[in-house]
Symmetry: C2
């Protein structure tokens, strides 16, 4: 396996063993980028010499931590002190932050090499950057974490930071055929993140394997990375198959992927039960829009008043909608979201996870839109952890994901369930029943 | 009344009427600052020429909004594009942000003149800046919004932004004898705020009158400023006298101020009932510490790894405590806080407000500490709106505040109750019963 194809976990292991150098690994990633970047356009800022310099420092010095020598990518709405932070907007062309965002600093302190910044849709919103889907450059990679998803899927880097306000981690992960993880709201510290909508913005991760998600998570919250030990589940997973109120808006490939995954997980030993959201949860999509628009309209006040002509029409429309929303409607939306969060937590007692669509379908053709965020947005609003796994391919041969969801703060259990599920779904032979 | 003593509301009215100019008002504030700043030391960055230039622009131009021509002050953990943002730390000496924080941009767009940045304790924590209490320079003004409270109390500016993570708005307001307002968590958008602890950090306001609080609030959330019309209450206020589990730690002047306020509000027509917090709420103080330390330890990762020697011993101790806290303990703390929030909301149904101590006592002597945050921290953790009002004087003749608290999102009702209460408490004659 070429070095740029290694997982972060495997790369860290080999570096620690002295089997490979960080420099060789980073060079392999840079070579891949040089070859593919003209097509994929995943990066907004990259400094190959500086990346190699960091790698050589890691090779010379003592181990700094679990990510020692491993290259990672950073979505360009997160500050870095050594690379430009432009947020997908001409307003911030050439902008340099004075410090790393907290999550970047934590990864760097654990030994990571910051390989570069990845393309974001404008201010983590919906106006796309130039990135293409690595599986077919005529299709969107999804967004707003477009560059992070594309770079990881294209083997340019093993793992990347993304952010999700509606569907900006899981949708691109699903469209690009990789693993997306949106933790419980607040899990990854947001200092140094350019806010879109602060009661929704969640920093997440994109990787090609769940153990890389677990490894990064362990560094960011200071816990041991238990998943990389692939712990067995101690009981039969109980999974609710949740079609959501959006089921009829899902493409056939998505509905099929979810149904087939349910069947295969059942065959693998899981208890699969239909799980129906309460009727009033159908209000979550509009609620997410209201909160997002109002909070954006406030967070972007400086750009709105000083640089309005350099905002995209999409963003101007969102901010205008936010400014037109009465504060009472916003507060009502916040209260409704909290009501649903508490209700879902209670309903999920006894379930290990919900199984739901990750996106409406495979990546749409064209680069003018990053796709529909509805299938991710309701879960973002509910604040619980969600993981997307590549599970099928669509009519154009592009990846189709499934989503697993757990109650708030049950991230570790969700990752274990996802680990088990992916193991079952990857098997060709009939799955073996689990022993409790 | 000297121009620098005007409230923001009155100043805005006179400017709109053409009775005074913004330039004259700003000049009066600058004169006061020139006279008193050597003693009070409230400002970390001020540019008199730039402030006067803004004022003259306001005088020449059409009205931009409800704050047209009114000078305001900004705590130095909030970004401003035209003045240094140093956060009370030598690490950021001379630092300039590229954009205004959202709240600053919103105030500026409504016509405010940004008079200057006010001294903050280091990163809105507990290592004090040089500011003194305007009532007695041998005493702390409180913190961490030290400069904002002192500047407003000293008539250098009518209103200022502060931030509260534990007690950083209401304690200095109480110590300096002014009004402090910590809205419901999330009310004032935090884009452009340097985070201390993101699940607690709340942007608040310091002023000398409640109508100025209402005016600023209206601009920041886009609602009409109804309070400045002094609407009558439509029913007898029902107020719970909440001594809290910290009552025995309150100084005599504080206990007295709360008891007397209760009696006078009852005489003024309120229903005053004892309100006892559930026993387990005594865990809120430790819970606040845990959350604050863990979140700080993550948010400050860049400074910790690059500039540790330039952090105060107080902050090093907090970050170390945070790093030593298991993530499971942190998550437990988050869950407990949410449990208490929901419980308090339910218990407060039917109450207009709680009445509680604002601080442990009058401002302590000395400038080495900004005082004890316990009496504010539990309410900050509970996320509801709180207001402090000056209500008495202590043994050293320094101000003593009371605090009024409401359930989350009931800010407007709380401000009305506070308005009524202050009216009653300011009267010398026996209060008249309210007509429902």
């Amino acid at each position: 396996m070429a070095l740029n194809e290694l997982s972060a976990t495997e790369a860290a292991r080999r570096i620690a063993q002295g089997a490979i150098t960080s420099e060789a690994l980073v060079q392999a990633c840079l070579d891949r980028i040089e070859a593919r970047e003209p097509t994929v356009q995943a990066w907004s800022a990259i400094d190959p010499k500086a990346a190699l310099r960091q790698a050589k420092e890691r090779d010379r010095g003592p181990s700094l931590g679990p990510l020692h020598g491993v290259p990672i990518a950073v979505k360009d709405v997160l500050d870095t002190y050594d690379l430009r932070t432009e947020m997908g907007s001409p307003i911030y062309r050439g902008h340099r932050a004075s410090a790393d965002a907290a999550c970047v600093a934590l990864a760097r302190a654990a030994g990571a090499v910051i390989l570069g910044k990845t393309v974001t849709a404008e201010f983590a919103g919906s106006a796309p950057g130039p990135t293409t889907n690595p599986h077919d450059s005529g299709h969107t990679p999804g967004g707003s974490s477009s560059g992070s998803a594309a770079a990881v899927a294209d083997r340019m880097v093993p793992v990347a930071f993304g952010t999700q306000t509606a569907g900006s981690v899981l949708r691109p992960a699903s469209f690009c055929g990789i693993v997306g993880y949106k933790p419980t709201f607040g899990t990854i510290n947001r200092a140094g993140l350019k806010f879109a909508a602060e009661s929704l913005d969640t920093i997440g991760l994109l990787a090609r394997s769940l153990d890389d998600i677990a490894l990064m998570r362990s560094v960011l919250i200071g816990v041991a990375s238990e998943l990389s030990e692939a712990p067995p589940l101690v009981a039969v997973p109980r999974i609710g198959l949740c079609r959501t109120y959006l089921w009829n808006e899902a493409a056939a490939e998505t509905r099929n992927a979810v149904e087939v995954a349910g069947e295969r997980l059942a065959a693998g030993g899981a208890l699969i039960e239909d799980f129906v959201l309460p009727d009033d949860f159908a209000g979550l999509s509009e609620t997410s829009e209201i909160i997002s628009n109002v909070e954006r309209s406030r967070a972007m006040a400086h750009e709105w008043h000083h640089h309005r002509k350099r905002l995209s029409p999409q963003l101007v429309a969102r901010i205008s909608a936010g400014l037109d929303t009465p504060n009472s409607r916003y507060v009502e939306a916040l209260r409704f979201a909290e009501h649903c969060r508490i209700q879902l937590d209670m309903m999920l007692a006894g379930f290990d996870a919900l199984l739901a669509p990750a996106a409406s379908g495979e990546a749409p053709r064209g680069l003018d839109s990053t796709g529909d965020s509805a299938f991710q947005a309701l879960w973002t609003l509910l604040h619980g952890p969600t993981v997307s796994l590549p599970a099928a391919t669509g009519p154009n041969g592009l990846p189709v994901g499934i989503q697993l969801i757990a109650p708030r703060y049950r991230d570790e259990a969700l990752l274990r369930t996802a680990w088990w599920a992916w193991d079952v779904l990857s098997r060709r032979e009939p799955a073996q029943a689990l022993v409790a």
